[in-house]
Symmetry: C2
């Protein structure tokens, strides 16, 4: 079959370890189904600064442009933290990459796994049945608005948030389409009682809904209220649609529901590129210790198969294998304190189940 | 003793009912301690739009300027919701009031009451011992930044966030001072890896800390991480300090910890005015039914006594009376489903305990 070119940007901290396990699982899938996955590595983040002085070097950008999908690990290194004025920061690479590849839709599913309800900070009855997905706009808003900086006299700082109807519309389409395949409901989260950008979001989403997606239920929630409802009634949501900054906050908040950040995959997609990465960060303290949870990255690989390659069955097989490993108590120490498996063991187990 | 002039802006929905109970409790305190509290009512919110066409009329502003403290109920009316383009909205009154009175520090304590641990969505062991307070900047940032609006062709919208060192410093001072009277720790929440305004917050707070508050522990958290930690480890916080928009989201998120929004008071203070209000909204469905929980407003009155009038003992007596009522199962239906008291009964009970 046709070769699928996968760029692997493993990044910093535990990124390389968890990517290795996801590759292991993808190779197992390739073997069984006769798919030809070709993996090519590129530098990103602190690792790339170390190699090239740039957290998102041109070679990496070319590699991404020439790939069918990108598997991303994590970026971030303590050496760049708490130095807000550092000239080059790994995060800049991440933001530039998102913009340069046009990855405007960040998609984060949140599921409450039965086997892990105990490790959630929330009570069982609150989270049972939770199955939501957040569509966060990723290349606009206050992350990229100009002007942003300091006044001449250094006494003031400013940032700008900007959205166009087209930026709103293209991600809203993705959210509505996803809802149709799920529970058929979209909740737009904004701050339309304060922000002009939020009022444009409401106008545009409402308009699109009336014209093309009237069959999907649409409701609106102010972001402050959404931050409450996510904890009070997580199972009431299906698709949450929101702008960049609100999505950053809410998707991290929602990540606590399931009981482990180590399980949450994400996709960042645009019209011509797509990147798949675990929600968790580079977790530098765990680097090289063979204790990092590879499941989020493995599930990100499943999202890749489904979303980029239309390999729906293959993806669901990976998910089933993950389910099995959880049910059988095979997982790293963040999940199972008493009898934890190593990063490798979890990867081997899941690959073995394929 | 000297007369204390209290402006009462009861506002919309259940605002008037809960304010009445707080006034009842303040009168009980006045009687016992021989304080002379004088109450004067003013219109605000939808109620004020109805009367004057303006959600924050000049008469109300004068009343506030001529008072020693303001007791505020709630604003918001369904009639103005879901109409983001309405020309006059109750929220505009609220924002103008904050700005005109210079109420730059919004202070929201969050406590986990033993008697209510069951109604929290979070597990006991997570929240036990939680006692935090959020200092949210209230008159700057993206709420008030210019330019904000639509492009001429109506295809784009924009908002601006702006902070000056002086705006940051004055609320940071309040946060550090509060920490010294509490657990001596301040956590600055920002997005310094992305926003220029956040980097100014870090610079300024760090500088102030080194120069004047080096005895207070100071740490930094990105807002996305803070949204997780508030649910994962709420008891690890003491004072959270943050900008307007982040504070709006995080303080509503934190409000779920205790198990009832109906218990949470707040203060919004500036250099010459101070306003006290329950965190909950106008809850229009409950209006006139005598079921609204008055405790948040009563505890807001306690904050008033302590903060504006330096009546520390009186405030702690109110808090004790609230504690007692909870321990004895006297509360409205949001707290005690099986044998609820009415709004009046709860107010009477607490006033009676004074
Ligand atoms: C590292 C940071 C710039 C980034 C963001 O805010 O988008 C991260 O928090 C994320 O959510 O991917
Ligand atoms: C009503 C709204 C404008 C307001 C805000 O966002 O500040 C409210 O959410 C609050 O927190 O007091």
């Amino acid at each position: 079959s046709e070769t699928k070119k996968i760029a692997v940007l493993a990044g910093d901290g535990i990124g390389p370890e968890v990517c290795d396990e996801a590759i292991k699982v993808l190779k197992a899938v390739g073997k069984i189904w006769g798919h030809n996955f070709q993996f090519s590595k590129g530098f990103v983040g602190a690792a790339a600064i170390g190699e090239t002085g740039d957290p998102y070097p041109v070679e990496t950008h070319s590699l991404c442009l020439n790939s069918d999908a990108i598997l991303f690990g994590a970026i971030g290194d303590p050496k760049y933290d708490n130095d807000p004025n550092a000239k080059v920061r790994p995060e800049q690479g991440l933001l530039r990459m998102r913009k340069a590849l046009g990855l405007y839709a960040n998609i984060r599913p949140v599921t409450a796994y039965e086997a892990l309800l105990d490790s959630s900070p929330l009570k069982h009855e609150r989270i049972a049945g939770t199955d939501l997905v957040i569509f966060r706009e990723l290349t606009g808003g206050i992350y990229f608005g100009k002007p942003s900086g300091r006044s001449e006299n250094d006494l003031e700082a400013f940032d700008a948030s900007l959205y166009s109807r087209q930026e709103i519309r293209r991600i809203a389409i993705k959210a509505f389409e996803a809802a149709r395949k799920r529970k058929n409901k979209v909740t737009l989260v904004d701050k339309a009682n304060v922000l002009a950008t939020s009022r444009l979001w409401r106008d545009e989403v409402k308009d699109l809904h009336q014209r093309e997606y009237a069959d999907v239920e649409l409701d609106y929630l102010f972001v402050d209220n959404a931050a409450m409802q996510l904890i009070l009634n997580p199972s009431s949501f299906d698709v949450l649609l929101t702008e960049n900054m609100f999505g950053d906050i809410l998707s991290d908040e929602a990540s606590v529901i399931g009981g482990s950040l180590g399980l949450l995959p994400s996709a960042s997609v645009g019209d011509s590129s797509a990147l798949y990465e675990p929600v968790h960060g580079s977790y530098p303290q765990a680097k090289g210790k063979n204790i990092a949870n590879p499941i989020a990255t493995i599930l990100s690989a499943a999202m890749m198969l489904e979303t980029s390659f239309d390999m729906v069955e293959e993806a669901s097989l990976i998910r089933q294998a993950v389910q099995d490993s959880l049910n059988e108590g095979v997982g790293t120490e963040d999940l199972f304190k008493s009898n934890p498996s190593t990063t490798n063991e979890v990867g081997d187990y899941i690959a073995g189940k394929i």
